[in-house]
């Protein structure tokens, strides 16, 4: 796998995960794939959107940071909205998807810049 493809794989994965989860939430029925996709999104995606921006050059390190950051962002965003009296799982998902998506788009932009 070339470095250009590799650098785009993670942000594309994050964006597609957010879109896929949004789609299954819209459809509305509970299923095992939906549960797995939810767990994957909450455990990894917000962090995978942001952690590669640090450019750590260490796969184990990047994944460690990504998972810890994902869980932390989930708790901070969900807890913050709950204490503010705005508990809404859909709103929380949108906020998390925006965080993850923004990071992923910046990664894509940076990889394009690096290529150019």
């Amino acid at each position: 796998m070339s470095s250009a493809v590799r650098s785009r794989a993670l942000p594309v994965l994050v964006l597609s995960s957010a879109i896929a989860l949004g789609a299954v939430i819209a459809v509305g029925s509970a299923s095992t794939p939906r549960t797995l996709l939810t767990c994957w999104f909450l455990l990894a995606c917000p962090g995978l959107g942001l952690a590669p921006l640090v450019r750590l050059d260490d796969a184990v390190g990047t994944w460690t940071v990504a998972v810890a950051l994902s869980v932390s962002i989930d708790i901070v965003v969900a807890g913050g909205l709950m204490y503010a009296g705005w508990w809404s799982p859909l709103t929380i998902f949108v906020v998390l998807a925006i965080i993850a998506g923004s990071g992923a788009l910046i990664q894509l932009a940076m990889s394009r810049e690096g290529r150019g």
Binding site: V71, I75, M82, F93
Partner: protein
């Protein structure tokens, strides 16, 4: 090829052995581990909760399961002992080990196990339903981070209850712990085997059972990740003072003259050098992690505070403001968000500070009780903990004597500082367990450093020694970790009985149980009150057995308008058998007393659970 280095491959002569033999010869450790894991899984599926004896899961295992476990141990021992094993192969072995130790043991349970898990599900259900917390109902609501995340997961996944997710929480948590554990060990040495050995030691010696579906299970991941980040990228060393350095070197030279230096694990050849912008981003990430830990668990922030303060004092952290940030956030949360809880418990908490004798008594003395077999298991746990700490101390002394302690200083400090927590609180008799838990990741690195760094030849004897050591650790782990399975695993019958009671009890009902060991509080938290007889009845209430029903009636007289139920399940009885009777009396006396009392009516009856209702207060729906 997984077990062949580049160099070995370059010098290999054309092979005349059949391909299948070559594959087996090369990959036999992985084949042994995988086949052992498959066999282990197949055997565990056949175990029934009813078969489990006083010593836990080990008593219900068929002989083939031990053969399976031996295969896993031989494979893992060979992978760790053979120098030519690749990192990818070691990772594969570790993943299999985690599944064997933490995934497969969930299979015997027909229903989610461990009573505390059910309570956590109840808190999550409350948040999902109400979108808020109520600190008046439960202390859990004072630190709701984990529960909020659980509620969000359940809602986004469209689940009625997150109960089914709890079954695999130990496996998922332990898989997530692996990457930060590897990073923590890697920060001490370039020896490619040390991280995997340290991780294996961690998984074999972590019998504490805090990786279930719980706030501490999740915040432990954040704890490990935070220190992995600090030790790997933010360990900028402050230059020691000139005078102090001169003394240190003089001491070291003096020691070197007297002690023969032997090889110790290789230090990192090139510590990662980050730009200031990268360091700044990592500091922000550390801040966000702390921001999530503080509202999620009451103890973990203090463990983090102790650790980062120790590193700051040793000059081993470039994020010097972190201890102050952790302190301010923790105090602010305790004062403002958890203020109600603190007001109610401040006196009790103050009493524990510095009261080491009482803490040790409540942590050790009260736990070493119960049936003879359970006592033996408890003593084995204490023995393993003492052995880990003693060997870690030995490793630290050895590293110091051989001039290799410098690179392990952060690990030595982080293995030692959790002891400071013992001085603070008894933590409901659990602080020593938690101190052990917080210290093992770093103690495991020290233990792994005891294995000689340079092993150039993969002798069968060495592989056998590694395999034997692994098998001994696995056997002790089965006893220490799964020694309580008799009370941890529930039967479908008792779950059905408790669920029926919870669903049909009128709003405002009081549900009483002899002890907390039953699958309850997973639903209608805030609508139904749950209480154990340990907390409701005075010591000696059952001095005359037939008084117990009367005593229950007496303590619930203020609830004349609300129904009162007493539920007794199979696991309540097992708990009493394993841990000894309660201060108020025995379950057998309680059952006799309730059955004989005209005030109580039996509303459910079966081998796994019985439910009684106060007759003149019980309304229709529960009958």
């Amino acid at each position: 090829m997984l077990y062949e280095t580049e160099e070995a491959r370059a010098h290999r002569l054309p092979s005349v052995t059949p391909p299948i033999v070559a594959v087996v010869r090369t990959h036999w450790p992985l084949l042994a581990t995988v086949s052992g894991a498959v066999l282990w899984t197949a055997e565990l599926i056949r175990v029934r909760p009813e078969d489990v004896g006083d010593a836990g899961l080990i008593t219900a295992l068929p002989a083939v399961a031990f053969v399976a476990l031996a295969l896993v141990c031989v494979g893992l021992g060979a992978a760790l002992g053979r120098p030519q094993t690749s990192a990818r192969s070691r990772a594969a072995h570790l993943l299999m080990l985690i599944f064997v130790l933490h995934g497969a043991p969930a299979l015997p349970a027909d229903v989610p196990s461990f009573s505390v898990t059910w309570r956590h599900v109840g808190v999550i259900e409350y948040i999902a339903t109400h979108g808020s917390v109520d600190t008046g109902i439960s202390a859990y609501f004072n630190w709701p981070g984990f529960f909020v995340l659980g509620a969000l997961t359940g809602e986004l996944a469209g689940l009625d209850s997150v109960l089914e997710l709890t079954r695999w929480a130990p496996l998922v948590n332990n898989l997530l712990y692996l990457a930060p554990l590897i990073m923590i060990a890697r920060s001490a040495s370039d020896d490619p085997r040390l991280p995997w050995m340290a991780a294996s030691i961690f998984y074999f010696t972590n019998w504490v059972y805090q990786d279930y579906f719980s706030p501490q299970g999740l915040t432990y991941l954040l704890y490990l990740s935070l220190f992995a980040i600090i030790l790997t990228w933010l360990s900028g060393r402050r230059r020691p003072r000139r005078l102090r350095r001169r003394r240190t070197w003089r001491l070291r030279r003096w020691l070197q003259r007297r002690l023969r230096r032997r090889p110790v694990p290789a230090s990192p050849r090139h510590e990662p050098v980050l730009r200031p912008s990268q360091q700044a981003m990592l500091m922000v990430i550390c801040f966000v992690i702390v921001l999530a830990v503080v509202p999620s668990h009451q103890l973990t922030p203090f463990a983090i505070l102790a650790g980062v303060s120790a590193l700051a004092l040793l000059g081993r952290g470039s994020f010097r403001g972190l201890p102050a940030i952790v302190l301010v956030l923790t105090v602010a949360w305790i004062m403002f968000a958890a203020g109600g809880y603190m007001n109610g418990h401040l006196d009790a908490l103050k009493e524990d500070i510095g009261n080491l004798g009482s803490t040790v008594s409540s942590n050790v003395g009260s736990r070493v009780s119960g049936s003879d077999v359970h006592l033996a298991v408890t003593r084995l746990r204490l023995g393993i903990a003492v052995a880990v700490w003693a060997l870690a101390a030995l490793a630290a002394v050895r590293l110091w004597r051989r001039g290799g302690a410098d690179r392990f200083v952060p690990h030595i400090a982080l293995a030692a500082v959790p002891f400071g927590l013992v001085m603070m609180q008894a933590y409901g008799g659990e602080i020593m367990l938690r101190a052990y838990l917080f210290s093992i990741p770093f103690a495991a690195v020290l233990l792994a450093s005891l294995v000689p760094a340079r092993i150039d030849v993969a002798s069968p004897l060495r592989v056998a020694a590694f395999s034997l050591a692994t098998a001994a650790l696995a056997a002790s782990f089965l006893l220490t970790r799964y020694g309580n399975e008799r009370i941890v695993l529930f039967t479908a019958g008792e779950v059905r009985a408790v669920e029926r009671l919870t669903q049909t009890a009128p709003r405002g009902s009081l549900v009483l149980a002899p002890n907390p060991q039953l699958p309850w509080q997973a639903a209608r938290v805030g609508e139904v009150r749950y209480r154990t007889l340990d907390s409701a009845l005075a010591p000696g209430a059952g001095a005359r057995p037939h008084d117990l029903a009367q005593a229950i009636e007496f303590v619930t007289t203020e609830r004349r308008r609300e129904p009162v139920f007493v539920v007794i399940t199979r696991n309540n009885r097992e708990f009493e058998h394993l841990f000894g009777g309660s201060t108020w009396g025995s379950i057998a006396d309680l059952e006799r007393s309730l059955a004989a009392s005209p005030r109580f009516e039996r509303t459910q009856s079966g081998p796994d659970a019985v439910v009684y209702a106060l007759r003149w207060l019980s309304p229709g729906p529960a009958r």
